[in-house]
Structure formats: structure tokens, C-alpha cells
Subunit: 484 residues, 2 copies
Amino acid sequence: MPSEDMDRIFHPRGVAVVGASPNPSKFGFIFYYGLKNSGAPVYPVNPNEREVLGDRCYPTVDAIPYEVDYAVISIPAPSVPKVIEDCGRKGVKAVSIYTAGYGEEGTEEGRRRERELAETARRSGVRVIGPNCIGIYCPKGRLSFFAGLPLVEGEVAFLSQSGGHAEELAYKAENWGIRFSKIVSFGNACDVTPEELLEYLGEDPDTKIIGMYVEGSRDGRRFFEVLRRVAARKPVVVWKGGETEAGARAVASHTGSLAGSVQVWRAALRQAGAIQVEDFEEMADVLHALSRLPLPRGRRVAVVGAGGGAGVASTDACEKNGLRVAPLSEETVRRLEEVVPTPGTSVRNPVDLSYFALFDFSLMGRCVEILASDPGVDAIIAHVSHLDMMMKALPTSPEEEVLHVMARVKERMRAFPEKPLALVLALESDFEIQKRKVEMRGKLVREGFCVFPTTARAARALSHLAFLREFRERRARAEASQGS
Amino acid sequence: MPSEDMDRIFHPRGVAVVGASPNPSKFGFIFYYGLKNSGAPVYPVNPNEREVLGDRCYPTVDAIPYEVDYAVISIPAPSVPKVIEDCGRKGVKAVSIYTAGYGEEGTEEGRRRERELAETARRSGVRVIGPNCIGIYCPKGRLSFFAGLPLVEGEVAFLSQSGGHAEELAYKAENWGIRFSKIVSFGNACDVTPEELLEYLGEDPDTKIIGMYVEGSRDGRRFFEVLRRVAARKPVVVWKGGETEAGARAVASHTGSLAGSVQVWRAALRQAGAIQVEDFEEMADVLHALSRLPLPRGRRVAVVGAGGGAGVASTDACEKNGLRVAPLSEETVRRLEEVVPTPGTSVRNPVDLSYFALFDFSLMGRCVEILASDPGVDAIIAHVSHLDMMMKALPTSPEEEVLHVMARVKERMRAFPEKPLALVLALESDFEIQKRKVEMRGKLVREGFCVFPTTARAARALSHLAFLREFRERRARAEASQGS
């Protein structure tokens, strides 16, 4: 599909919702309500209704007296082909089909229905996203899956074979401060392929970072070819569903995909320069980190925080996740010794401020600055531990001080544009404190910090960032040697 | 130490806080304030103060005109030996020493000081917990580390070489509904050893489950001998700090311990029948699961929830964590087909209710009941996904319905006393929704449910429960065959 057509689909002049309904427990209502809420120029289509949410309902798509570029279809499978033909006559560029009951059924009937759908689409000149998907979310084009999704534009795109993962990431993105250019749920991918979408996003000026949840590909060779090209320009994070045998069975009944061999996928993703993640949280964490942090020059991390046990745990977590908690330079140790009180502390890596950090959180700030200036430190993990104790046992409210110190740290980190700083703030806690921590985390995320709930997750994300830089440098060297 | 003496330490007739201070940023204040808050019969000791928090301050421990069984010491290292001698004269059974600057310093001076401390203790007839520790938390004995810790009694004990982990777990326990019989922070363990404490907890009628964070042991042979004996009677969960090379370095400067070989520790823990965990969250999750769930008869898990992508992700997470998402019996599939609408759903394992579960959460409840009655299902994981969408896109508040349905499920699960049910409820989200979820999670935990933030964590915990049952059955068979 020409990229102008694709642009048009993401920024349509009109959107039809086929199967629109006034019944709030039908998806025909949910889609219509969502698109109306996001401000899309939306028209309900349903021969059995006169109006939906106060809007005049049309019997067919081609009865709409306005331009319509995109349609969302949520009606039983047998009625879908006729609607696609109507869309073709109307000049609709693409439809997304929520309807299930196709290839994922695992029956000959389902597969036949899916083939027919693709043929009808081709014959009618209409591109089909799905079936068995929830379509497009694009704040700039005022397209939303459902109501209540954020309508701010961002630079992260997400392609998802699962509608559930697509909308969960969209709804939950605030936790990671992620904002989206586009999310596409592509389901069974009977017509518009993930390869096409990926290629488009590779060229899309609104998209800087790409995430992808994929269960399988009908054309693996092309998938990895496109991936390699796109990943050469933009970070691409891939989550492959169905890595285990039982997972592969689940994939077959979810989108009718062939999961393929885990070893082949892993090796090919790595070769293509894609960052491979294993679950929802890791996907979100890495998109979070890529949005906010520079790629570190190496894997040497300095760990700082309150508590020897927390330091040991953080160190084990870093090393198990591919980072190195290496000794600091003599100069750094000397400078740390000047600010860190004794006894019970450690100015080695991990730096342990013991309980001193609780009474004077600015100590943490000073240490982060000193660590950042060590040429042997590529990244910093600062764990904000013992907040529970600070909130419960001390006559202080640590929130303001922590935020104040961190604002200053952020300012100082500008001097080290290649050194990522990850904060660790555990949420799980006493339920009242947990709510205060959610509030605090929200403020830090809005301030632009990268915040993780555990050191393991911080380390995992930083390790992926290091991989990306290593991959790019290796490729640059290979290109240079080919050129010479 | 005789166990009556140990009982006395945990339920002291009087507690002295040596170094008690009216300055809120000194630990002498924090300990005193904490013990006073927990209702301990506590006396401040400090020759330089006349009163602390309105209580008369004594110049020395032996000047206290009441029975004192236990003392918390928070004064500079050079003054500690004299205080121990005072305690000996006073008949104090044990002291815990917060003071650092001993073996963990890594200097000859530090090690010498620690040896002297142990000698003074022996000579004075006073047992020393620590140094470099925060002592004892025992709600029944009204002992607390710091203020604001819960004072309800429970059946879980935790031994920790890290004071930080000890108090973090105590403060955060509400998240997992864990209540404690005793927590002991034992630090450098120069006198009272982890082996002694473990042995005591093995006999302690108030303790049913034991968790342990350990960085090293001075007497590995005895440690594993005691562990084997105790683990034969009660579940023991062990988190070994310093598993990596850098982690081992951190351990040395934290408690002066030798971390030892990771392979040796892992093999020996397994052989002893201990559950081995790798981080704080896993420790808490397993204690949570052991407190609330039966040990499953096997590793076959049924997964149910809304969303095909979530089903695939859950399946991969289960399989990667040692569980099996096996096919269901024909009878179960037939019964599920009767209640689960089509299309877009799956009655295979994982059971995918698609968005139907959002409009009628009771569907989830009915499926859990059907799955529990399948003889091929050993455990159930129910993921409560798409709450964000339910809260934002639908004109409903799902909290009440979810709680109502789950209460009914809990009732029905009584018929399957050997089948654990784990709920998965992701917290990370839009910040406002996150707070609602914290509230909701709190209600479910208070209702007695086992709730995890990800399927991976639920699966990891269930897998440990399965290990424990397997270990016990293997041992019972071995004993039976030896007996015959």
C-alpha cells in the first residue's frame, strides 16, 4: 500500500463503525463510544438502529453522505463480505475487523472464511486489518480503540497481534510515561501484514521507537528482512508470543498463527538487531527506557542506595541481567569518602549509604553526581529503598525531599549525556503507603525519570539498551571495514 | 542456648535501649520510639540524657530497677564491651547490637573488635545478636524494630542477615497478607548463629513457615544439617545473597561473610528440601503462597482469563517457570462449552473468555469451578486482565462485581482442598486506576486470596509449592523403603 494511503488510514476524514449499537455491552457501542470520545469524525452504521448516542445511524456504509476513509467492523462473520463490498463502492481505504471466528477457530470452515475475506477485500480494493483485532489507536488522527485512552501524541509505535496487549499497553502507558504515535492491533493478519505495517512505521516521521507483539509470521524471510532494515534506523523491541510448546498451542487458537521454533526466532531477532523481550512488563520497561535514556557506552553500572542487603540484592540482580557492578576508580572512592558518613556504609560499588540516606536524602543526590563523573561507570542505578520506614517510623514525609533532590540530580545529569540513570522504587507495600508511592512514582515519571519497581527490571532494561548500542557499533565497524 | 532462654528473649519482661536519645535522627531515638509504640516494657539508657520521650533515662543498664531480659544497643563500637558487662551483671539474657564497624569493615581492626565482642559476651554470660543488625521483631512479645510495624501475630518467621530486608519485609507484609511470629535480623552473627535461630524456629510452636535471607555461613556443614532437620517439619524458604561474583564482594563489605560457591549452595539447599528464591519479591510471594494455599499434587495448571494474548503470555510464563499448561479433559471442555459464549473465545487450556468476561465477570467464577473439578488440573491461575478498560471504557465499576464473584469462588474452592488458586492482578497502570487497583488488591488479600502482579510470579510461587510436595513425597517414599 502506498504510504500516502496508509497516512490517510491513520488520519481519516471519516470513520464508519459498522454494527454500531446503543447497547453498552456490545462492541458496536464500545467502538463507537470510544471513537466519538476521541473526537474522530465518526458515523454509526446499522440497518436496525435509527440513532446511536444521538447520532443518525446509516443503513450501509455507502449511504453515509461524507468522506469515509476507514471503517471498524463489529458484526457477525457471515455479514462481513457484503460490508467490505459496500466499503469498496464508498472508496473506504481500509477496515479493521473485530469479528472473530476465522482461522483461529482451527476448523476448515474458519480458514475458508478467512480466505474469502481476503479475496473480497482484494476484489473490492479495500485493505483489511485483522480480522479478530481491535484496529487502530492514533492520537494525532483522533483514532482510539475504546474510550478513556490518552489522546496525547508521542513517538512510540506498537504493533500487536493481540488486541488485548494493544489496549492494555495503551491504557497502562501512563505508568511508564509512554506516549504513542500509533498502535495497530492486527489479529489474524489475513490481508495487511505485520511486515507492511513495520515497513511503514520505519518511514513514519512521527515514530521514533517501535514495539511489536507477534505470535507468528506467514512469511518469516520477509519479516526478518524488513525488521533488519527498520531496526537499522529505529529501535525495534519484539515480544514473541508462544515460545513454549503450550504457548504455541495457545497461539494457534488465538490468531491461527504458527509459532515457529523459539531458537530460530531468537537467533534471527538478535541478528536483525531487534531487542527481544519476554513479557508485557519488559516490553513497557524497555519502551520507557528507550524513550527517556541515552544508550550507555558499556555495561559497567554503579549501584547506589540505602541498605547493605539492598546493595547485595541489586548487585546480584544487575550481574544476573548482564550488567557489571565493577569497582570504582580510586578518585571516585576518595570523593565518595568525603561525603558518605561512617560506619555501616560502603563507598565501594554497590555504594551503601545505610540509614544515613533516610535522614538526608541529598546524600543520594551527591553520590549520583560523583558516580556519573567516573569514566569507568556507564550507567547508574539508584534504589530508593526504605521509604516505608521513612513514612512510618520517622516524623517526616520523604516525598517532597526525594522529589526535590531528584530534580537537582536531573539537572546535574545533563553534564553526562551518555549515562543513563535508572531509579528503583518498589510499589508493593502496606496498602496506604502503596498509594502514596503510586503518587510519588507518578511525579517522578512526569519529571522525566525512568523508574522501575525492582533492580532486576531496571537492569534488564539497561542491558537491552547496552545491546542496542553494541549492535549499532558492531554494524558500523562492519560497514566501515566493507567500505575500506 | 536453652529454648526457655530464647523464649524469654522474644517475650522479655523488660527491654533496655542503650544509646536512647531524644534526637529523632538518631537510631537511639528510632529504636526507643519503636519499642515504646509496640508496647514493650522499655527503658532508656544514656548517661548524657535525663529523659527520652518523657521516660526517665538510666545512666547504665544495671541501674534499671526492673527486670531486663533484652537490650538494644546503639552506641559507638568502643563503648559496647562495657555495656555488655553491665548487661551481664544485670542478668540480661541477650542484646542486639545495631552498631557497625566490625568484621564488615574488611580491616584487621574490625575483625579484632568483633572477636573481642564475642569474647566479652561469653565472659559476661550475655548472648549477642549482630552486631550490625536491627534485632528482633516479635508482635506477641511486643518487640518491634521501629515504629509503625504491624502488631498482629502470625505464623511466619523470617531470619535475615540484612536488617534492611528484615524491616522492609515487615513493613511491606500487608501487600501479601503475611503476619509474623518473629523476625530476627542477625547481621554479622558473631555470637548467636543463624543455625541456632533456625533450630529454635523449627521447634517454635508459634512458627509454621520460615523464610531466611543469608549471605554466608561460618559453619556450612552445621547450617545444612540444621536446615535439613527443620525443613523436614516446616517449609523453609531461603534467599541466598551474593550469588554472583560482584554480589559476593558486596556481601563481604555488608556483613563480612564469605558468600561461597553458588553451585554448592544451590545443590545443598535443594538437597535439604529448602525452597530457594532469588529476590525479595519472590521471597514475599512464596511466603504469601505458603500461608494461604495448599501444596498442589502436581504441576498441571489451568489458566483462565480474558484475552487471547494474555492467555498466550500466561501460558509461556507458566511453562518457563516449571508448570505445565496441559490439555483439559473432554468432560471439562464440554462443560466449559456450555457456559463460554463464542466466537473469539477458547475452551482449551488456556481458557480465553475474551471480552465476554468484562460484561459478566461471573463467567470467570463458573470457569474456575469447572476447571477445579478436572482431575487433570492440579492448580488454577485466574488472570483478572483488562480492568483498565473496564474502568475507563465501560459505564461500570468492576470492583464490586469482581469481589462478589471471587467471594463465591472462594466458597466453592473448599470442595477442592488440594488445588491452589492464584489470582493475577497487574498493578502498573494509569496512576488513578493504579490506586483503585491497590484498594481492590487489598480487599482480595484481606479476603484470603493469593494475588500476584504477573502470571510469571504466580507460576514461580506455585512451582515452589509443587517442589515442596514432590520433595516430601520423595522423602516419605525413601523412608518407607528404608523401613521395609
